[in-house]
Symmetry: C2
Subunit: 427 residues, 2 copies
Amino acid sequence: MPISANNTNRKSWIEVPVDSDFPIQNIPFGVFITKDDVITIGTRIGDCAIDMGALQQLNYFEGIELTDDMFMQDTLNDFISDGKKTWRLVRNRLAELFDVTNPKLRDNKEHREIVIFNVKYIEMQLPVLIGDYTDFFSNKEHALNVGKIYRDPEHLLSPNWLHIPVAYHGRSSSIIPSGIPVHRPMGQTLPKGEKTPVFGPSRLVDFELEMAFITTDVNVMGENIPINEAEDYIFGMVLLNDWSARDIQKWEYEPLGPFLSKNFATSISPWIITMDALEPFRTKGPKQDPSPLPYLQQKGKNNFDINLEVAIQPENEEPTIVSKSNVKNMYWSMNQQLTHHTSNGCRVNSGDMMGSGTISGPTPDTFGSLLELTFGGKMPIQLNDGSERKFLNDDDTVIMKGFSKNNGVRIGFGELSTKLLPPYVRK
Amino acid sequence: MPISANNTNRKSWIEVPVDSDFPIQNIPFGVFITKDDVITIGTRIGDCAIDMGALQQLNYFEGIELTDDMFMQDTLNDFISDGKKTWRLVRNRLAELFDVTNPKLRDNKEHREIVIFNVKYIEMQLPVLIGDYTDFFSNKEHALNVGKIYRDPEHLLSPNWLHIPVAYHGRSSSIIPSGIPVHRPMGQTLPKGEKTPVFGPSRLVDFELEMAFITTDVNVMGENIPINEAEDYIFGMVLLNDWSARDIQKWEYEPLGPFLSKNFATSISPWIITMDALEPFRTKGPKQDPSPLPYLQQKGKNNFDINLEVAIQPENEEPTIVSKSNVKNMYWSMNQQLTHHTSNGCRVNSGDMMGSGTISGPTPDTFGSLLELTFGGKMPIQLNDGSERKFLNDDDTVIMKGFSKNNGVRIGFGELSTKLLPPYVRK
């Protein structure tokens, strides 16, 4: 089925600001609460949020097979379960409906007022109920940078790294959308040179610049997915900030991996950008040497050219961009990640989320965490207000952005903005 | 509020076989499908399953504040959310209703036929929707045994082990109830002496004898729970088999912990035994030396005397008991685990599950995994049919049981029985 929604010549009757992340070629999916306190599934064009629940009630999805309340729900899980064919039909329909040449909704003021809101009057929610969250470690530059800080110089990568898209399970309960603040975590750490740990606020709170993808129902228990089918199960992507407490991490992570150093919070951007919308930005990934085992061998363009940036904004100051990276830096592709994840029969369901791991580039200005940007806290970075950071201060806001651009079309992820508050005080 | 359901003198008008795990003093909670294909919440006395949805419709919970459909649901999450006071009121009510001296339901044949089924006609389901599953590593004997196989003899325990209840995140999507078979997983392993991994069926599939506890809604994000409050948030316990593929685990686990070696399946027993029912079996845990940090210091009896056993049953043969252990061997208590888990503000919700880690005892016949029982596969164990096992064969069934007993009352967990099938073949 053609992706007519991607037509680069199409314009919308909704005004789209220059350099908006959300032209009519994007058509992302999300969940929001309207100013009338109704929760709905919706999309976005320019600065307009579009209530797809209301659109469905007004019959604008006629002819597409959907359950009656498909978009009058508080998560996208059921819609995502319906599969790629339905996603594409709905996205194409939305593109046609908001096409500048289509008078149907454009000239119906009553309907427009029911369906369209300025984004400043809505409150974005988590787009899916995330049953399980996996975080990969699939960027070689990041793995090497971490190796330089923590590992022996002869073995910067663990022996399995070039053979396996290494991953661990994250915590679903602590995933929050952009805008929800995070408290500096308390935890056990081992002070340098000491043999006994102490308990207190983490001193080394960090961000990690990641992307994540959201799956549909992938398999039954026991079933593996061949790599040439993997992309059929990927709905779309979001920005992800994998909050990390480096001092807690260092003391706890051996032998079973990161736990409390990560599970206090994971932030994601609220609009899921579909793989269909990202299709024009496919690109080749880095050469894989050694060649992976046959079940992980892929052909063609499996990476995506998505520009990323991170800024730190101190309280009452302007943000400073501290890193610029790109998703095409990923060594292991999403298809390889999902194939590996199901290679043992592990069940993957609609709404499950898989993070990429920190996406760093080859040069210091492209590193995706303060751990890397400051070489383990040894070399502070300068912010525009003259202050320095080794790690994050209380009341700093971390802002991540991502977008792709070619043929005059910019498809973006909006903003993932999260403020770090002081430790929580129990009432 | 007194736990009148624990009255050791009480007898039921339902016949309870000698040595049943489910006398009227147990009153566990579970979810099952009746032979009429209705899913309901229920309890069990002797060999009778009791439909609590039907009981509620017939007004037998009158006077207890419950939503109208509390027990007509397919998970216990909402009931568990209601908190300890409600759990206790409901459990006490059930004990009174089935007390031999109470004619109300005993003498109402019509109601009895609606409410009571022989357990052989029902199909047990997962009792809760498990949002997040954490697995601890809290038994010192197991940690030492694993250390002897994998670590340097001078440092059998990782440096943090005596300070932190070490844990990692498991996979919720692969948790299954007793009776559902598991397929031998495929995966990457590194053959001995080789530098390049291979892909194929795991050759070293193992069980791990564990318990798990289920929580109610514990906290808001950022909030920590003091150790003296932790037990208020624990609803009950189940048996857990943490299926493990040792060859996959060895190759993948560094640096981020176990992943595909564990997430192909985790089995649990379907009846949740409440902490109220286990109250008479409290006991002291092992002395903790060094003393943990103040936030983990506890007083009184925080362990439970629960006998455990594992049997292996080859196809068409009798089971052989291969291990007998006890939950009182746990070094870190459940209260310490939950307190540590929330110490960084990690959100814990109703229906979340936390596994203990393998529970081994001090002697070889008490080890909770084949890895330990066979010293890493070096010394096979003998089964009653004359066959040997280093690890599990296809078509072996692993059966775990657990019970407590004193003052003439036996409170048991029933059976966790899971067959290992050959690798899944995709259609």
